[in-house]
Amino acid sequence: MTTTIRFSLNGTATSLEVEEDRMLLWVLRTELGLTGTKFGCGEGFCGSCTVLVDGKPERSCQLPMSSVAGKKVTTIEGLANNGELHPVQAAFVEHDALQCGFCTPGMILAAYGLLLENSKPTRQEILQHMDDNLCRCGAHNRIVTAIETAAAEMRKGERS
C-alpha cells in the first residue's frame, strides 16, 4: 500500500509514492539514486547508513519512510556546497581520516550531527558519540582528529 511521503531531501522538497514501512536506506539508494548512504549490516549496528533527520544522526536502515514525512533529511550528497567541501568533509581529507571509504559517509554525518549539537566536544565526547559507527580499516584516531579540526573550523565560520 503506497502513500505519498513529503520531506525535504538535501534542501529539496521531495514527494514520493512509496510504501510507508519501507526503510529510508533502500529508498535513498534505489528510487532516489543516492548511493552515498551505505548498507553495512541492515540491523543498526554499524552506522554506515547514518543520515541526518532534522539535524540528528539516524540509522536509515531502521527508519521507515513514514517517520521522515515532513522532516529534513541530509545525506552525504547534501553536504558539499556547490562543489565546496563541508568543513567535516574537508577535515576528513586533510587528516586522511579514511581508508576503504565505505564507512566514511556515515562517519561524516554522525560527526556533523554531533557538531550541530555540541560545537566544542571534548575528545571523550567525540569517542562516546562515534562509538556505534564502526570502521574496520582502523582509521579511528584520524577520524577523531578530523572531527576536532572540523569543530574548530565550524566555530570559526559561525563567528565570521
Binding site: T30, G36, F39, F45, Q99, C100, G101, F102, L134
Partner: protein, 722 residues
C-alpha cells in the same frame, strides 16, 4: 625506435587481455607510448634474497601497461585493486617520480580484466614490494623513449637533455624543449621492458618517500566513490538467496508460495541456487522472508572450545621447516624450561562492505562489477560457471570497501553471474551481514606448542616449535638460538578436508598473528622464569642487527622501564617479521581486576620496512593494523556449534570501536637505501602478544589463548592467584 605494429605486438608477446585483439588494443589504448612490464622482467630486477624467499609464491604476475597519452597524461593499467590500502596513491607516486611528472597527471586504471593485464590478485602486502620495481622500471623505460624522441626532434644529443615536470629541454639551450604531450602526439610506440632500466636514485625522488594524502579521499568524502553495490543497470533486479542454517545442512523441502504476497517478486532455481528477485533490495529481502524451507542439519560434535582438540587429532605429521644444532644438547644445557600450548580461535574478516556484485549479460558477454581482491581469478571462475570462454567475461573492480584477505573469495559474484544468465536481466547480489559472517573464509583456529629452555647465561638454549594450522608465515624464529626446530603441520593454515567445519582463508598477515602471539608470549614466559626483563632478555638473544634496532627503537620511544615482569605497570613488548618488514610493538594496558576487562592505553610501534614509498600511507597502514589488531587480541572470535555459526552481526562479534582507542605512536625506521617491503600487514602481527605480555606485567596472569576476553583474563588471574 620501435613502431607499434602487429608484428611488434607479436614480438612483444605480452599477455594481451583475452578480448583485446591487436586492433582493439590500439583502439582501446589509443596512440602514444606504451611500455609493458611483466613477471619475467620482475624476476630479473628482483634482488636475489627476496627471490629466494618468495620465489615459489611468485607466478606470472605483476604485469602492467604504462601509457603516455597523446595529451601527455600518464595512465597505468594494472590488475591490482584499491581496498583502502592506498596503492592508488603509492603506485602513482612511483610512476610520477620516475617519469618526472606531477602526481596529478597520473591516472590509475585498476582491476578491469578487459583493460588491464593479468594479475594474481591484491594480497600479501606485495603490490609495492614486487609490483613496484618493474613498474618503476617501466616508467624509467618510458622516460628513455621520450628522451630519445626529443633528441631526434630537437636535434640535440641526448646527453644534453634533462627532464622536469614532463618537459624535456636542452641543458645547453633551454629554449629547445618539448613536453611529453608534444612528444607522444601521433606516436604509436610500444616497448617491452627487457633490460634493467636506469632507475632514479632515492635521493632524486621528489614524490616517493614524501607524505602524500590519499588521491581517492575527495570522492570518498563526497559519497561519490563507486563501490560494487552502487552500480545501477537498466532493468536490474536485486537478488536474495536462500541460505542453510548451518554449514553442511541439506535442503529437505521448500515452499515459496508466500512470495506472492510481495508484488514484483519472482523466484529462480538454478541448480543449487534458490533465489528471490525483486526490483528493490528490500523487496527481495521481504520476499525471502516468505520462503519456508526445511533443512536436515548434520550432527557434528564440535564447537569453538572443542575445536583445538579436534585440530590436534586430525593434524597430519608435521614437516620440519627449519632446524639447527641438537635439541637434546640444548635441553641438557638449560636451567629453566617452559612448555606451553597456545590457542587461537576463528576470526572473521568483517569488512564493512559485504561481498557484493552486479552481473549483466549483453550479446553473450558477461560484465561483472565485483568487490573482489582477485578480478582475474573471478574471470576464470565465472567463465567456468557460465560455460563461456574467458574472453566473454569482463570483471570490473570499483573501489572495494575493505578486504583483509576475505575478498579473494568470489562466491557472491558467481551467484550474480549465474542469476543474470538465468534471468536475462542484470542482477545484484549484495550479501546481508548474516551471509557475510556465514560464508566468510575465516582466519583458521590454530594451535602452537612450544618447548624451550634458557641456559645459565640468560641465553635461550633450545627452542622446539610446532604449529598446527597456523601455517609457516611467522613460524620461523629470528632469535639467536643454538639448538632449534620449527615444525608445521602440512596443508598450512587451510588444512585438508575435515580440518575445519567451514571455509577458512587468508586473513591480514595469514598465520602470522597466531605464530607471533605464541612465539612472543613464550619468549616472555622464558624471560620471567629466567628472572630477566623482557627487553633485556630479547636483546641477549638477538644477533640480528635490524631486529635489535627495531627493539631498541620501540623500547626507547615507549619509555620502557627495565623492571622485569610482572611489574604492575602493565607494559608488554613483542617483535615480528612479516612481508619483509621488521616490526616491534610496546603496549601499555590497564586490567580491571574485578572483571578482567583489558583497556589498551597506549601503543608504540616501530617498523623497518625499507624505503617507505608513501610514509603517510605507511603510517596509516600501521595505525590501521594496530587498531584492527585490538579486535583479534581482545574480543573477536567466531563461536559455533557444528556447522552453525552463532556470531553473525556486530552485536555479538565485537570489532574495535572508538571507545577502545589507545594513544598510538608509530615510528618508521629510516632505511631509505633498502628496497621497499610490505606495509599493509606487518604491524598487526604483534598486537596479540604485546597485549598478552602487558596483561602479565599488569596482573601476573598469563593468557595462552586469544582472544583475551574479560572472562578469560579473570580466569587466568584466579588461577595465578591460586
Amino acid at each position: 625506435m620501435t613502431r607499434f605494429t602487429n608484428e611488434i605486438l607479436e614480438h612483444l608477446g605480452i599477455d594481451l587481455p583475452s578480448e583485446v585483439s591487436r586492433r582493439r588494443f590500439l583502439k582501446v589504448f589509443g596512440g602514444g607510448i606504451i611500455v609493458t612490464a611483466s613477471a619475467s622482467d620482475l624476476l630479473a630486477l628482483q634482488q636475489s634474497p627476496a627471490r629466494r624467499r618468495f620465489g615459489r609464491a611468485l607466478p606470472d604476475d605483476f604485469n602492467a601497461f604504462l601509457r603516455i597519452g597523446e595529451d601527455g597524461r600518464v595512465s597505468c593499467f594494472t590488475g591490482k585493486i584499491e581496498m583502502g590500502q592506498g596503492v592508488v596513491t603509492s603506485l602513482a607516486q612511483m610512476l610520477a617520480d620516475e617519469l618526472e611528472v606531477s602526481l596529478d597527471s597520473v591516472a590509475m586504471i585498476m582491476g578491469d580484466t578487459d583493460l588491464c593485464p593479468w594479475d594474481m590478485g591484491t594480497f600479501g602486502s606485495m603490490s609495492t614490494r614486487f609490483f613496484g620495481p618493474p613498474l618503476r622500471a617501466a616508467a624509467a623505460e618510458a622516460r628513455e623513449v621520450l628522451i630519445e624522441l626529443a633528441a631526434e626532434k630537437l636535434e640535440v644529443p641526448r646527453e644534453q637533455l634533462s627532464v622536469t615536470g614532463g618537459v624535456i629541454s636542452s641543458t645547453v639551450d633551454p629554449d629547445k624543449k618539448l613536453s611529453y604531450a608534444e612528444l607522444a602526439k601521433g606516436q604509436n610506440i610500444a616497448r617491452r621492458l627487457d633490460r634493467k632500466a636506469v632507475l632514479e636514485s632515492v635521493e632524486k625522488f621528489t614524490i616517493v618517500g614524501r607524505p602524500v594524502g590519499r588521491r581517492d579521499a575527495i570522492a570518498k568524502v563526497m559519497g561519490e566513490a563507486e563501490f560494487a553495490g552502487d552500480v545501477r543497470r537498466e532493468g536490474m533486479l536485486y537478488a536474495r538467496l536462500l541460505r542453510p542454517p548451518a554449514h553442511g545442512a541439506e535442503l529437505a523441502s521448500v515452499d515459496a508460495s508466500g512470495i506472492e504476497a510481495v508484488a514484483g517478486a519472482t523466484m529462480v532455481v538454478d541448480g543449487d541456487l534458490i533465489a528471490v528477485l525483486h526490483p528493490t533490495p528490500d523487496g527481495a529481502q521481504r520476499a525471502l522472508a516468505e520462503v519456508e524451507a526445511k533443512w536436515k542439519i548434520p550432527e557434528l560434535d564440535l564447537d569453538h572450545d572443542s575445536i583445538f582438540e579436534h585440530l590436534l587429532k586430525v593434524a597430519p605429521a608435521g614437516e620440519t621447516l627449519d632446524r639447527g644444532g641438537d635439541l637434546d644438547t640444548g635441553m641438557s644445557e638449560s636451567v629453566v624450561e617452559a612448555r606451553h600450548t597456545y590457542l587461537d580461535g576463528y576470526v572473521a574478516h568483517a569488512p564493512i562492505e559485504t561481498h557484493t556484485a552486479v552481473a549483466e549479460i549483453v550479446d553473450g558477454k558477461c560484465t561483472i562489477w565485483a568487490s573482489t581482491q582477485t578480478p582475474f581469478r573471478l574471470q576464470t571462475e565465472a567463465a567456468e560457471a557460465l560455460g563461456l570462454p574467458e574472453g566473454k567475461i569482463r570483471v570490473k573492480t570499483p573501489f572495494v570497501g575493505g578486504g583483509f584477505g576475505g575478498k579473494t573469495a568470489n562466491r557472491q559474484a558467481i551467484e550474480a553471474a549465474r542469476l543474470a544468465k538465468r534471468t536475462g536481466r542484470p542482477v545484484q547480489v549484495a550479501w546481508s551481514r548474516d551471509e557475510e559472517f556465514f560464508f566468510d573464509t575465516f582466519r583458521p583456529a590454530a594451535v602452537v606448542k612450544i618447548d624451550a629452555g634458557v641456559g645459565e647465561n640468560g641465553r635461550i638454549s633450545y627452542w622446539d616449535y610446532t604449529t598446527y594450522f597456523a601455517g609457516s608465515r611467522g613460524a620461523e624464529q629470528f632469535y639467536d638460538i643454538p639448538h632449534h626446530r620449527t615444525v608445521a603441520a602440512p596443508g598450512g593454515w587451510r588444512g585438508g578436508p575435515g580440518t575445519h567445519p567451514f571455509a577458512t582463508g587468508a586473513w591480514r598477515a595469514p598465520g602470522n598473528n597466531t605464530n607471533t602471539f605464541a612465539r612472543e608470549c613464550h619468549i616472555d614466559v622464558l624471560a620471567a622464569q629466567a628472572g630477566k626483563d623482557p627487553v633485556d632478555f630479547r636483546l641477549r638473544n638477538l644477533a640480528d642487527k635490524k631486529m635489535r634496532r627495531v627493539l631498541e627503537t620501540t623500547a626507547r620511544h615507549f619509555g620502557w622501564l627495565e623492571t622485569g615482569a610482572p611489574s604492575g605497570r602493565g607494559q608488554g613488548i613483542a617483535l615480528g617479521i612479516d612481508a619483509g618488514t621488521y616490526v616491534g610493538l610496546a603496549a601499555e594496558v590497564d586490567v580491571d581486576r574485578a572483571t578482567g576487562k583489558v583497556t589498551v592505553e597506549r601503543l608504540v610501534c616501530a617498523q623497518d620496512m625499507g624505503l617507505a614509498i608513501n610514509p603517510q600511507g605507511a603510517t596509516i597502514q600501521m595505525e590501521g593494523c594496530l587498531t584492527m589488531g585490538l579486535g583479534y587480541a581482545l574480543t573477536e572470535e567466531i563461536r559455533f556449534s557444528g556447522g552453525q555459526v552463532f556470531d553473525t552481526d556486530f552485536d555479538t562479534y565485537e570489532i574495535p570501536r572508538f571507545s577502545w582507542l589507545p594513544e598510538i605512536q608509530t615510528v618508521i625506521i629510516d632505511a631509505t637505501s633498502d628496497p621497499p617491503q610490505g606495509g599493509g600487514e606487518p604491524a598487526i602481527i604483534v598486537v596479540g602478544a604485546a597485549i598478552a605480555n602487558a596483561i602479565y606485567d599488569a596482573v601476573g596472569a598469563r593468557l595462552y589463548r586469544m582472544p583475551m576476553t574479560a572472562d578469560r583474563v579473570r580466569t587466568a588471574m584466579v588461577r595465578s592467584e591460586g
